[in-house]
């Protein structure tokens, strides 16, 4: 078992590094171009602000050479003279990443004005957890309950409604439902705010209340679209278990139906349900980029999108790091839990 965990951890670490390497490979060159343009712009604007520098040169050629020198100097200072794929730069970046030092963001800042990637992520992550993780928890609770209910009465009206709702809701994009909800409940009936970002500063005491109020509409939307497929999954697990012999035995013993459903069957359906819960909880941390964009929710998803559109490599790497780590760890935990709950699986992983 120890050996298993050790190999898993090593593989996970390897996968994480490869993921980050791919990210750097994709974004690196564009990022360098943008940074260099930024430096040229910076140097020029400094000279425009300070006309004395310009007057001290007699010929245009000298002046241009001076600008070129200053630009080169800064590029060298930032280490941009080497291409992004040079071993030193990639090595340095990877080394820093391993030490959890994500460095400074190039363009983006946190609400409090810090450009430290760690600060930015620590500011956005709680908000995403607040919205998406609580939505996931609500979804799973409703989903398990409804799923168990329809599994106990297969073929009933409730079962049919659940199944068809699950299938239909799964084919609607959440963000489109989000647009509709905004259209209906923010503009036609002005119950909720259209933008999910509160207007008041984060430091004021009413902030939490405002945040919760702004959160209601996205939360309702996500839960509405999400719980159907959960209920359907739980139902299918339960149906599988209800056909097992031991349930039949319980039935012939005369234990009543609802007790069988909620204690015996649900307990046995627990392993896959817990696995899915672990996976969707970790998935929820990334927030849905598009959902956050629709509701303008200031979380990880929107941070990611903003970072990609302006090519802010440190932020992209930081966010990818966090998301991949959460994903890998939760897959790992899900596997362990599955083995713990279902001994039939354990024997094969011990090999």
């Amino acid at each position: 078992m120890k050996k298993y965990i050790a190999t898993r951890c090593v593989t996970m670490f390897g996968i994480l590094l490869i993921t980050l390497l791919i990210t750097i490979m994709l974004v690196g060159s564009n990022m360098d171009t943008i940074l260099k343009q930024g430096i040229v712009f910076q140097v020029r604007s400094e000279i425009i602000e300070n006309p004395a520098i310009g007057e001290s040169f007699s010929s245009v050629k000298d002046f241009e050479a001076f600008i070129q020198d200053r630009t080169d100097e800064r590029i060298k200072h930032l280490g941009l003279d080497e291409p992004w794929y040079s071993p030193q730069r990639i090595g340095l970046t990877m080394y820093k990443i391993i030490l959890l030092d994500f460095g400074q963001a190039t363009f983006l800042t946190s609400d409090s004005g810090s450009s430290d990637v760690k600060d930015i992520i620590l500011e956005k992550l709680p908000r995403t957890i607040l919205l998406f993780t609580s939505a996931t928890i609500i979804i799973s609770i409703i989903g398990i309950f409804v799923g168990a209910l329809s599994a106990s009465k297969i073929g009933s009206i409730i079962d049919r409604i659940t199944s068809s709702f699950a299938i239909i809701s799964s084919s609607f994009p959440v963000w489109w439902i989000g647009m509709l909800m905004i259209f209906l409940f923010a503009f036609t009936y002005q119950i909720f705010p259209a933008r999910a970002t509160p207007d008041i500063p984060a430091s004021s005491p009413e902030y939490l209340g405002a945040l919760l109020y702004h959160m209601t509409l996205p939360l309702i939307t996500i839960v509405m679209i999400g719980f159907g497929s959960w209920a359907y999954l739980v139902r299918n697990f339960m149906v599988g278990i209800m056909q097992e012999d031991f349930i039949m035995a319980k039935k012939t013993m005369g234990i009543n139906q609802s007790r069988i459903t909620y204690t015996h069957a649900l307990k046995n359906a627990a392993p896959p349900i817990i696995t899915i819960l672990a996976l969707s909880l970790s998935g929820s941390l990334g927030g849905a980029i598009i959902t956050e964009a629709v509701f303008d929710w200031p979380g990880m998803g929107r941070l990611y999108f903003e970072a990609i559109t302006v090519m802010d490599l440190p932020v992209i790497i930081g966010a990818t790091y966090i998301l991949t780590v959460f994903f890998l760890v939760s897959v790992f935990i899900a596997d362990l839990l599955y083995g713990y709950f279902d001994p039939r699986i354990r024997s094969s992983t011990d090999e």
């Binding site: 593989t11 996968i15 994480l16 490869i18 993921t19 791919i22 990210t23 994709l26 974004v27 564009n30 297969i154 299938i167 239909i168 799964s170 084919s171 609607f172 994009p173 963000w175 489109w176 439902i177 647009m179 509709l180 905004i182 259209f183 923010a186 503009f187 036609t188 259209a194 299918n236 149906v239 599988g240 056909q243 990334g286 849905a288 980029i289 598009i290 964009a293 629709v294 990611y304 999108f305 990609i308 559109t309 090519m311 992209i316 966010a319 990818t320 998301l323 991949t324 994903f327 890998l328 897959v331």
Partner: protein, 455 residues
């Protein structure tokens, strides 16, 4: 996974209501695509982003059929292209008269009107525009001579209702009206009752007369546009584009993206997984580790990075979606091929010295086909919604009117805030219906392939 023959699958499939419903929807969507490709000229598709080609359409107009549910009828945007033409020659003066009949039965004044024409003439013809109202009153609107030309030229011009000349002309005829018309707009005067400034319903005749001396002009094009607030079956957007055309073109595009991505992913996944499972040992180990890496990549962020850094053309997008599509299928295909490998006949074939490629193609892949069909159907909706999502974020191919692109435009122009529901609802419903068709088919197939889920 058991040995089901294609005939059995077909039989079972036709028994399932869901499968039939899915196939029906899909057939409708495919026929829409075919009709679109045949009937709607390809130019409209290429002109989607060219504002010039939509100039005669109204801005953000509501669908016409909404009038069926309203007591107060919203004026329809009318583009009249076929006037009745009359030619009268009197000695040396030639008169060509173009008449447009409009039955105006709405409850609001029109927004404006525009007369646009292409006239081939020489000399300097006189152009007169007048309207005969339902109450018989004839109002002169404009009378202007066209620029002189020695040779035959083609003159292209537009007369707008906002033209100051029309207003002046109308003020000269203000004795017809019993109220002050000085501060009203032209269309509010023309379409008004004489007693008070209320709408006069009925048949209006707009006539354009061209007088010439000794010459005869030829009209190439003559259009009268009565600007309204309702247009077409699906309405128009802020950029005056006819949403019906966008929605129709979106259908073949969505089917193309969905089917190509899912079929290619399934083929790649099957090949990869089966090969890894069949080979086993080291090969299997390395191939599956590579698979794990791809599996761990956060798909949507990476798709965004790829479309921003590499290209956002629709074909590249299809390729990117494939990269992330095959991973899960490969995993399942591998475990299935591991099971099949242990069966007696496969082992027998191995002992007989069959080639690997033959073994895979002949003995293992055919067993996986039912699963393959089910996964194609199941993975189509994901491909379509992901593409729509990327387009919605503004990362899609702007030259193609996909449904996601339409929704992106709707979001940028604040359609939700302005209550332009016809811009938001139909594209989403189309996405959902297309997804639903494949989900139905996929579920029906899945129930046959995995009989455990039935009941």
């Amino acid at each position: 996974m058991s040995n089901i023959t294609p005939q059995e699958i077909k039989k079972e499939f036709l028994k399932s209501k869901m499968g039939i419903a899915g196939i029906t929807i899909l057939t409708i969507l495919i026929s829409i695509s075919i009709i679109t490709i045949i009937i709607i000229p390809v130019e409209t598709f290429q002109e989607w982003n060219n504002p010039g080609s939509w100039i005669t359409y109204p801005k953000a107009a509501i669908p016409v059929w909404i009038n069926l549910f309203l007591i107060e009828k919203i004026p329809e945007h009318r583009i009249l292209t076929e006037p009745s033409i009359q030619k009268i020659s009197n000695n040396e003066i030639n008169l060509s008269s173009y008449q447009f009949d409009i039955n105006y039965n709405y409850d609001q004044f029109p927004n404006d009107f525009i007369y646009s024409y292409l006239l081939e003439y020489s000399g300097s013809p006189l152009l007169q525009m007048s309207v005969i109202r339902p109450d018989g009153i004839k109002l002169e609107l404009i009378s202007t001579s066209l620029p002189y030309s020695n040779l035959k030229i083609i003159h292209n011009d537009r007369i707008f209702s906002t033209d100051a000349m029309i207003k002046k002309e109308l003020i000269l005829q203000s004795e017809e009206f019993k109220f002050k018309i000085d501060n009203l707009s032209v269309e509010d005067i023309i379409f008004s009752k004489t007693e008070s400034n209320e709408l006069l319903k009925g048949d209006y005749i707009f006539s354009i007369n061209v007088y010439e001396v000794n010459e005869e002009s030829k009209i190439v094009e003559s259009n009268l546009i009565i600007g309204g607030k309702a247009f077409g079956i699906m309405g128009t957007d802020e950029l005056r584009r006819d949403l019906a055309i966008g929605l129709l073109w979106g259908t073949p595009l969505a089917l193309f993206i969905g089917l190509v991505v899912s079929i290619a992913s399934v083929i790649m996944g099957l090949m990869y997984g089966v090969y890894a499972g069949f080979k086993g040992k080291k090969t299997d180990e390395t191939m599956m580790r590579f698979n794990d890496v791809l599996y761990a990549l956060p798909a949507l962020p990476f798709l965004i990075i790829l479309s921003v850094t590499i290209s956002n053309s629709i074909f590249m997008m299809v390729g990117f979606l494939m990269i992330f599509g095959w991973v899960g299928i490969a995993k399942v295909a591998r475990s299935m091929s591991l099971q099949i490998k242990t069966r007696g006949y496969v082992e027998a074939a191995t002992m007989m010295g069959q080639k690997d490629s033959k073994m895979i193609l002949k003995h293992i892949l055919p067993q996986l086909l039912p699963y393959a069909f089910a996964s194609v159907a199941i993975s189509v909706p994901a491909a379509i919604t992901t593409e729509a999502g990327l387009s919605f974020l503004g990362l899609g191919d702007p030259s193609f009117p996909t449904w996601g692109q339409i929704l992106h435009d709707a979001n940028t122009f604040g359609a939700a805030a302005r209550g332009l529901w016809w811009w938001i609802v139909p594209p989403g419903i189309m996405i959902a219906i297309t997804g639903l068709a494949f989900v139905f088919i996929g579920n029906a197939l899945d129930a046959i392939v995995n009989p455990k889920l039935k009941r």
